[in-house]
C-alpha cells in the first residue's frame, strides 16, 4: 500500500505512511478463513517468550508456603522462629500474623442462591485447616531454595480431625467441616420449569432409563505451574502484580477488594501464560500473599509453584455424582429429562466453584427436542482441594450424562445408538430453537454433522464388523461410541448472568486505533494463554480495514495497556472479544468515511470502502486510502467541523445471546476382556463452530480438547486416600497422556454461522473436551454390552474395565436395573474419585 492521495495541506513530517518496509504486494484478498501461521510462535519457539517465573526482578524475596499435611485438623500452634534462624530467611508469618492484611475473605463471585453457605476463606488458614495443601504459614527468603528449605523448619502442631472425602458422607453431616455453618451442604439449586409435565412424562413413558454417572475429580495440569510476583513502586505506593493468570482484569478488582488496596494503584500483568484450562481462572492465596507482603514490606515478593503444590493447591475439576433419568415413548423419543447432581465443592468456594454445575444445568437435554426437564444440584463441602472451572466447566459433565444416557436408552428401546439420536435431534428447520429451559439456540444442523461423522468413520461397516466378530467370539471386543454434543459459549449476556446471581457482567472491550503511519493497534480485554489471539485478531482487523495482518499490533494481558476486560474462559474470546474488535473496526471506518468524504468533497454515503481505500461510487479515480485518512486524523489540520482528531474507536460489547457450537464425535475402540485394556482404533470428530477465522488454530483447539476429554475417559482421575491425602500429587501418579498414549484424530467440520454476531462465529475452545469423553466411554460400554456390562467407571483403566466385566458376570440377573456405581463403589474402584 502507498499513501497515494493525500490532501494538499499536508506538511512533510517524515511520518507519512507508506515509507515502511511492509511487503509491497501482499495480496489484498481476505485472510479470514485461511490457515495463517501464528505470529506468537517465534518467541515461544526460541525461548524469547517470558513466562512469569522467567522475569528478572532485582531484590525480590522468594515466598514459600507451609502447607498442611492433614486434610482436616485444628492448628494448635505455629512457631516460625526455627525458620527465621535458617540461612537466607528474611521473614516468616503465620495465618494469624497476616489476618490484619485482609479487608475481605478470598472471593467467591458466584453466590448461586440467596442462602448459599460459604465459609470465610483466608489466604493462610487460621485455627483450622480444611484440606491437605491448605496454607498455614509463609517464609520469605533471599532465594527460592532457602525459602523451600526453611518451610520444613516451621513448627506446626496439628490436632487431626476426620477427613471427609466421600460425597455421601459429606451430606450426612456426620463430620461437619466448617462448624459455624452447621452443615456440609453449601447450597441446593433447582430449576423447576413444569414439574407436572415431567411427572406426567415419566408416568406415561413407554421406556425409562435411570443412570448414575460419576465424574471423577481431575487435575487441570497446565504445563506451566502457577507463578506470581508483586513489585511495589518505591515511593508512589503503586504495586504491579505479575501472575500466570487467565484473568488479569478480574484479578485486579478482586485483589483490590480483598486487600483493601486502591484499585487504581494496582496494575496486573499476565506475561506469557503456559496454558490454563480454567485452572488460572481464579484468585489464589499466593497472588494475594505476594501482593499483601509487597505492600507490608515494601519489597518485591515472588513465588513459583512446584508441580506437587499445583496438584494440592490449584483448583481441581469435575467431581460430581450425576443421576439422570430419561422418559421416552415407544419409539424412543425422549419426553422428559430429570437430573439431580451432587457436586463436590472441596473445602472452600473459590472464584466460581458453586456455579460450575449450573453452567451445565441448561445442557442436560443435549441436542434433542425434549419437552420437559427438571434439574437440581446440591453443592457439598469435603476436605479436599476446592474444585472450580476446568475445560468445559459443567458442560462436559452435562454432555457426558445425556450422551451416555442416550446410549442406555438405545439399548433399552433396542435400536442403534445412531438411530436413537436421529429420532431425537432438533431438526435443522427448527432454528432459532427455543428450548424447554427458555434458552434460544442460535443455529444448528445436528443431523448433518452426525451424518458426516458417521460416514467418515465408516459406521455401517464398523457395525457389520462388530456383528461378525461377536458371532465369531474372541477376547477382543469392538466398540463404537457416538457423542453428539453442543455447548453454550460466548459467556455471556450480562442479564443472563444477573439471573444466575453471578457478580459480574459478560461483556468484552476492544479498542482499534489507526496509528499515524497507517499501522493499527488493537487493544483487547481477552487474555490469551495459548489460543493465538494475536494472530486471529490481526486477521479480523486486516480484512476489515484492508491492511496486511502484520501491520496490526495486538495489546493485551496488562491492565495498564488494556484497562477494561473480562478475560479468557468459556470459549468466549472470539465470540465476545473478537466481535467487539469487529465492531470497533466498523466505527473506525465510519469515522474515516466522514473524513474521506470531507477530503474528496463527496457525500459520505457516496463513498465505498474496499481494500483499505475509500472511493467515490462511480468515480474510482477519486479515492483515498485509509492510511492517509489516519494521518490526516493525526495531524488534524483539515478535519470536518466538529470531528475529533485521531482515528480510533472503543467498543464494549455485551452479547445478546450465547453461541451454540455443536458436532458429533465417533470413537472406535478394541477392548481386551482378559486384560481390561482399551485401544482407541479410530477417532472421528465433525465440529461446527460457525465461521472459522483461522482453521489451523481451530483444528489445534479441537485436537487438544479431544485429548483432554479422552484423558478423562481413559487415564486421569484424582485419588485421595481415606485420610484425605492426595495420592495423585504429581505427574508420575496422575496420568496425563503422552504422545504414544493417544490416537491420531480425523477431523472435519460443517459450517453453520451464528446469526447473532456479524462474524458468524461460535467458539471452539472446549468443544473437543465436551464431545470426546462420552464418545470414548460409549465405545467401551458398547464393546462390552454382550458381556452384560452397562457401566464402566472413569478412568477406564484396565483395572476399572476388568472390574466392570467381573461385576457384570457375577451378577445373577443381567437385567438392566440401570443403577450403576454408588459413590462408595467409586472409591473402591476408582480410588476415591468422589
Amino acid at each position: 500500500m502507498t499513501p497515494a492521495t493525500t490532501t494538499e495541506t499536508d506538511v512533510p513530517t517524515g511520518l507519512e505512511p507508506g515509507g515502511t518496509d511492509q511487503p509491497p504486494d501482499e495480496p489484498a484478498g481476505p485472510v479470514v478463513g485461511t490457515r495463517r501461521e501464528r505470529r506468537e510462535d517465534p518467541a515461544l519457539l526460541t525461548g524469547e517468550a517470558r513466562f512469569t517465573d522467567d522475569l528478572q526482578i532485582p531484590g525480590a524475596l522468594h515466598l514459600a508456603v507451609v502447607r498442611s499435611p492433614f486434610a482436616h485438623a485444628r492448628i494448635t500452634r505455629v512457631d516460625v522462629s526455627p525458620a527465621l534462624a535458617m540461612p537466607g530467611v528474611v521473614a516468616a508469618f503465620t495465618g494469624e500474623d497476616l489476618q490484619g492484611e485482609w479487608a475481605a475473605p478470598m472471593p467467591c463471585a458466584w453466590p448461586v442462591t440467596e442462602d448459599m453457605k460459604s465459609p470465610p476463606h483466608l489466604p493462610l488458614a487460621v485455627g483450622k485447616t480444611c484440606y491437605a495443601g491448605d496454607g498455614v504459614a509463609v517464609v520469605l527468603a533471599e532465594s527460592n531454595e532457602a525459602a523451600r528449605d526453611a518451610i520444613d523448619a516451621v513448627d506446626v502442631e496439628y490436632e487431626p480431625l476426620p477427613a471427609v472425602t466421600d460425597l455421601a458422607a459429606a451430606i450426612s453431616d456426620e463430620v461437619v467441616i466448617h462448624e459455624d455453618l452447621g452443615t456440609n451442604t453449601s447450597y441446593r439449586w433447582e430449576l423447576h420449569l413444569d414439574d407436572d409435565a415431567v411427572e406426567r412424562a415419566f408416568a406415561d413413558a413407554a421406556h425409562v432409563v435411570r443412570e448414575r454417572y460419576i465424574q471423577q475429580r481431575l487435575l487441570p495440569m497446565a504445563m506451566e505451574p502457577r507463578a506470581c510476583a508483586a513489585v511495589p513502586q518505591p515511593f508512589g505506593g503503586d504495586i504491579t502484580l505479575y501472575s500466570a493468570t487467565q484473568i488479569p482484569h478480574i484479578l485486579k478488582i478482586m485483589t483490590a477488594v480483598t486487600l483493601g488496596f486502591p484499585e487504581h494503584q494496582l496494575r496486573v500483568v499476565a506475561p506469557s501464560v503456559g496454558g490454563g484450562f480454567g485452572s488460572k481462572l481464579n484468585v489464589y492465596a499466593e497472588e494475594l500473599l505476594v501482593t499483601a507482603l509487597a505492600r507490608k514490606l515494601h519489597q518485591p515478593i515472588r513465588w513459583v509453584e512446584e508441580r506437587t503444590e499445583n496438584a494440592l493447591g490449584t483448583i481441581h475439576g469435575r467431581g460430581q455424582i450425576q443421576d439422570i433419568e430419561l422418559a421416552a415413548d415407544a419409539d424412543g423419543r425422549v419426553t422428559a429429562v430429570r437430573v439431580d447432581l451432587t457436586a463436590d465443592m472441596g473445602a472452600y468456594l473459590q472464584l466460581v466453584t458453586p456455579g460450575i454445575p449450573l453452567l451445565g444445568a441448561f445442557l442436560y437435554c443435549g441436542v434433542y427436542d425434549v419437552p420437559a426437564f427438571s434439574f437440581g444440584c446440591t453443592g457439598v463441602f469435603t476436605t479436599m482441594t476446592p474444585t472450580d472451572a476446568y475445560r468445559g466447566a459443567g458442560r462436559p459433565e452435562a454432555t457426558y450424562a445425556i450422551e451416555r444416557a442416550m446410549d442406555a436408552l438405545a439399548d433399552e428401546v433396542g435400536v442403534d445408538p445412531a438411530e436413537i439420536r436421529r429420532r431425537n435431534y432438533i431438526g435443522a428447520d427448527r432454528f432459532p430453537y427455543t428450548a424447554v429451559t427458555g434458552l434460544v439456540y442460535d443455529s444448528g444442523n445436528y443431523e448433518a454433522a452426525a451424518a458426516k461423522a458417521l460416514d467418515l468413520a465408516g459406521y455401517d461397516d464398523l457395525r457389520a464388523e462388530q456383528q461378525r466378530r461377536r458371532a465369531e467370539g474372541g477376547p477382543k471386543h469392538l466398540g463404537i461410541g457416538i457423542s453428539s454434543y453442543f455447548e453454550m459459549c460466548g459467556l455471556a449476556p450480562s442479564r443472563v448472568l444477573a439471573s444466575l446471581n453471578y457478580s459480574a457482567g459478560g461483556w468484552e472491550a476492544a479498542t482499534v486505533r489507526m496509528l499515524p503511519t497507517g499501522k493499527v493497534q488493537v487493544v483487547t480485554g481477552a487474555t490469551p494463554h495459548g489460543q493465538g489471539h494475536e494472530t486471529s485478531w490481526s486477521m479480523i482487523v486486516a480484512d476489515k480495514l484492508g491492511v496486511p495482518p502484520d501491520d496490526v499490533d495486538v495489546l493485551h494481558s496488562d491492565t495498564a495497556l488494556s484497562p477494561l476486560g473480562m478475560d479468557t474462559y468459556g470459549s468466549r474470546s472470539l465470540v465476545v472479544g473478537g466481535v467487539a474488535i469487529d465492531m470497533a473496526c466498523d466505527r473506525v471506518v465510519d469515522k474515516a468515511r466522514r473524513i474521506a468524504a470531507h477530503q474528496l468533497e463527496a457525500a459520505a454515503e457516496d463513498l465505498e470502502f474496499r481494500g483499505g481505500e475509500f472511493s467515490v461510487r462511480g468515480s474510482p479515480d477519486r479515492s483515498v486510502p485509509l492510511a492517509a485518512i489516519a494521518f490526516a486524523a493525526f495531524t488534524a489540520h483539515d478535519l470536518p467541523d466538529g470531528e475529533e482528531p485521531n482515528l480510533e474507536a472503543h467498543v464494549t460489547y455485551d452479547p445478546p445471546n450465547f453461541s451454540w457450537p455443536f458436532g458429533t464425535h465417533v470413537c472406535v475402540v478394541e477392548v481386551d476382556e482378559e486384560t481390561g485394556g482399551v485401544e482407541v482404533r479410530k477417532y472421528v470428530a465433525v465440529d461446527d463452530c460457525g465461521n472459522q477465522i483461522n482453521p489451523l488454530i481451530v483444528e489445534g483447539q479441537v485436537h487438544g480438547g479431544i485429548v483432554q476429554g479422552l484423558a478423562q475417559a481413559l487415564f486421569e482421575g484424582v485419588v485421595y486416600d481415606a485420610d484425605g491425602n492426595l495420592v495423585t500429587s504429581n505427574l508420575t501418579d496422575y496420568l496425563v497422556p503422552s504422545a504414544p498414549d493417544v490416537p491420531s484424530l480425523t477431523l472435519d467440520h460443517t459450517v453453520t454461522p451464528s446469526p447473532t454476531n456479524a462474524l458468524g462465529v461460535k467458539g471452539i475452545g472446549e468443544a473437543g473436551t465436551i464431545g470426546s469423553t462420552p464418545a470414548v466411554m460409549n465405545a467401551i460400554v458398547d464393546a462390552l454390552r454382550p458381556l452384560g456390562v452397562d457401566e464402566v467407571l472413569m478412568p477406564a483403566s484396565p483395572l476399572n474395565v476388568w472390574n466392570a466385566i467381573q461385576r457384570a458376570q457375577s451378577r445373577p440377573d443381567p437385567e438392566r436395573t440401570t443403577t450403576s456405581a454408588t459413590a462408595g463403589d467409586t472409591n473402591a474402584d476408582a480410588g476415591g474419585a468422589s
Partner: protein
C-alpha cells in the same frame, strides 16, 4: 564448586552449589530462561536440553555433572536469525499453543531425528514419550517432526 561448560557455543564458567540442578543453573545462573521447569519428578520434559549432542532432562542432571560438557538450549538452535528447521516445522504445523512445553519438545525432537532421521508416526510418538504437552493433543507436534524429517531429507539429498 567451579564448573565450566560450553553453552550454545560459548564457554561459561560459574560457581555452583553441589546440589544445583542443571536446569536451575541454566535458568538462574546463566539467565537462559527458555528452558522451562514443569514438574518436580522428571516427568514432563519441559527442561530438555542437548548435552554433548544428546537430549537430557536438565532436571535430572546436577550442574556439576555437566562440567566440561557441551550444552545446547533452545536459545542456541536458531542460526543467523533463522529458526532451526525443527522450529520452523513446529510453526508451520501449529505444533505449539501455549508454548511452555515447546522448548523441551523441540530439543527432544531435534535429538530424535539425530537418532532416527526418518521416523514413522509411531516412532515419533514413542520418541517423544518423555515430553508432556497439555494443549496440542500431540497431533501437530507429530506432524511437525515428520515434516522436519522430510525437510532434513531434502536438505541431505
Amino acid at each position: 564448586m567451579r564448573i565450566t561448560m560450553t553453552v550454545n557455543g560459548r564457554e561459561r564458567s560459574s560457581e555452583v552449589e553441589p546440589r544445583t540442578l542443571l536446569v536451575h543453573h541454566i535458568r538462574e545462573g546463566l539467565g537462559l530462561t527458555g528452558t522451562n521447569v514443569g514438574c518436580d519428578t522428571s516427568s514432563c520434559g519441559a527442561c530438555t536440553v542437548l548435552m554433548d549432542g544428546e537430549s537430557v532432562k536438565s532436571c535430572t542432571v546436577l550442574a556439576v555433572q555437566a562440567d566440561g560438557a557441551d550444552v545446547t538450549t533452545i536459545e542456541g538452535l536458531a542460526r543467523d536469525g533463522e529458526m532451526h528447521p525443527m522450529q520452523q516445522a513446529f510453526q508451520r504445523n501449529h505444533g505449539l499453543q501455549c508454548g511452555f512445553c515447546t522448548p523441551g519438545m523441540v530439543m527432544a525432537a531435534v535429538s530424535l531425528l539425530e537418532e532416527v532421521p526418518h521416523p514413522t508416526d509411531r516412532e515419533v510418538r514413542l520418541g517423544l514419550e518423555g515430553n508432556l504437552c497439555r494443549c496440542t493433543g500431540y497431533q501437530n507436534i507429530v506432524a511437525a517432526v515428520l515434516d522436519a524429517a522430510g525437510s532434513t531429507q531434502e536438505a541431505g539429498a
